[in-house]
């Protein structure tokens, strides 16, 4: 049976937190990449950042998100890749998200998709879907996921999977 869904690596943030979770030397063995993450920021900004091949340049995106009461859609020129829980959210509450990058080894610009949510014991939390473009043509060999303006709190996790078409 062909291997179509393979775990590549997992990181769990230790005591004291960390500035980013890095997946380096990503093998070119798969068709697509899937990153599942459960994060909490040490700051009050819920925005997830994704650097590709150590670059935060040439990203554009658009999103649709709600905060528990209103709905908004934006477009932006940045690597904003979803929302996760923050320091002011309920203790022990973490976000949940998934980031899908098809054709990550292709020599074309890379499009990817994110669905991600923050959570807390309040009526206010963020749920959103995000479509992004990284306008560079290099094969993706490195991903860094982090939070805008803060560190990743202890027990934040990210797991990278390789997806094959056959």
């Amino acid at each position: 049976m062909p291997l179509t869904y393979a775990a590549i690596a997992t990181t769990t943030v230790g005591a004291g937190g960390t500035s980013a979770i890095t997946f380096n030397s990503i093998p070119a063995d798969y068709t697509d990449l899937l990153l599942k993450f459960s994060l909490r920021s040490t700051s009050t900004n819920s925005t997830v950042l994704l650097n590709i091949n150590n670059s935060s340049s040439d990203f554009t995106g658009r999103d649709l998100y709600g905060n528990g009461s209103t709905v908004t859609s934006n477009n932006y020129s940045a690597n904003y890749s979803g929302y996760q829980s923050v320091s002011t959210n309920t203790t022990s509450a973490f976000g949940s998200g998934e980031l899908y990058i098809p054709n990550y080894t292709a020599s074309t610009n890379k499009s990817y998709f994110v669905d991600a949510v923050s959570e807390t014991n309040s009526s206010t939390a963020y749920s959103g879907i995000h479509a992004l473009l990284w306008a560079q043509t290099s094969a993706i060999t490195r991903l860094d996921i982090s939070m805008f303006g803060g560190n990743l709190a202890q027990y934040s996790t990210a797991t990278l999977y390789g997806i094959n078409k056959s």
Partner: protein, 185 residues
């Protein structure tokens, strides 16, 4: 010491002797369940450890609006849900606290199927409250909803059982639920 392949007689310094290394699949079926027509409850019990994440996929008809998710039979007010949804003409967002179960996949039409995918990351963590993320919706030939929902179970207990209850009535015999385990390396 050179290793000789029994299969093709090649020599190698590796025990793999020219064969590619084996990576086990990360996405596995744990269990499936089908509605009985006489019960409003679907149960996945004795969920094994050994996985990093869980995913539920559903296709369902019922007279309920949602499948309501409860973990480890906890019926106290330990649940929070948030919704982002559109009905084909407008979009809205809502948050609810103090719930006795989480809003899961849609299941609100007795004729047209609703579809849902529920992700439960770090389900056996003993340090994190459990967050679910739900993509769900249906088109009922003139009405319907598309939703991105989330939910929080205010507990650090590892999830060992999941029940999905209708809000009223029974699961149709055509309602199907599948529980998958997703491994880490």
């Amino acid at each position: 010491m050179a290793i000789v392949s029994i299969k093709n007689k090649t020599k190698s310094g590796s025990l793999l002797v020219g064969n590619s290394y084996n990576i086990p699949p990360a996405f596995e079926s744990i269990s499936t369940a089908t509605g009985t027509g006489s019960s409003g409850t679907i149960t996945f019990s004795s969920i094994p450890s050994g996985y990093k994440h869980l995913q539920i996929r559903s296709i369902a008809t019922s007279s309920s609006s949602y499948g309501m998710i409860r973990f480890n039979s906890d019926s106290s007010s330990n649940y929070v849900s948030h919704f982002l949804y559109g009905d084909g003409s407008s979009a809205s967002a809502t948050g609810l606290t103090g719930l006795t179960s989480l809003y899961g996949p849609r299941a609100d039409n007795s004729t047209y199927f609703s579809v849902g995918i529920v992700d439960i990351l770090d389900f056996d963590s003993s340090t994190k409250y459990k967050t679910i993320r739900v993509l769900t919706g249906q088109d009922a030939n003139g009405s319907g909803l598309i939703m991105v929902n989330s939910g929080l179970w205010l507990s650090t207990s590892a999830i060992t059982s999941i029940t999905i209850n209708t809000q009223s009535g029974n699961w149709a015999t055509t309602a199907q639920f599948a529980l998958y385990g997703i491994k880490e390396l």
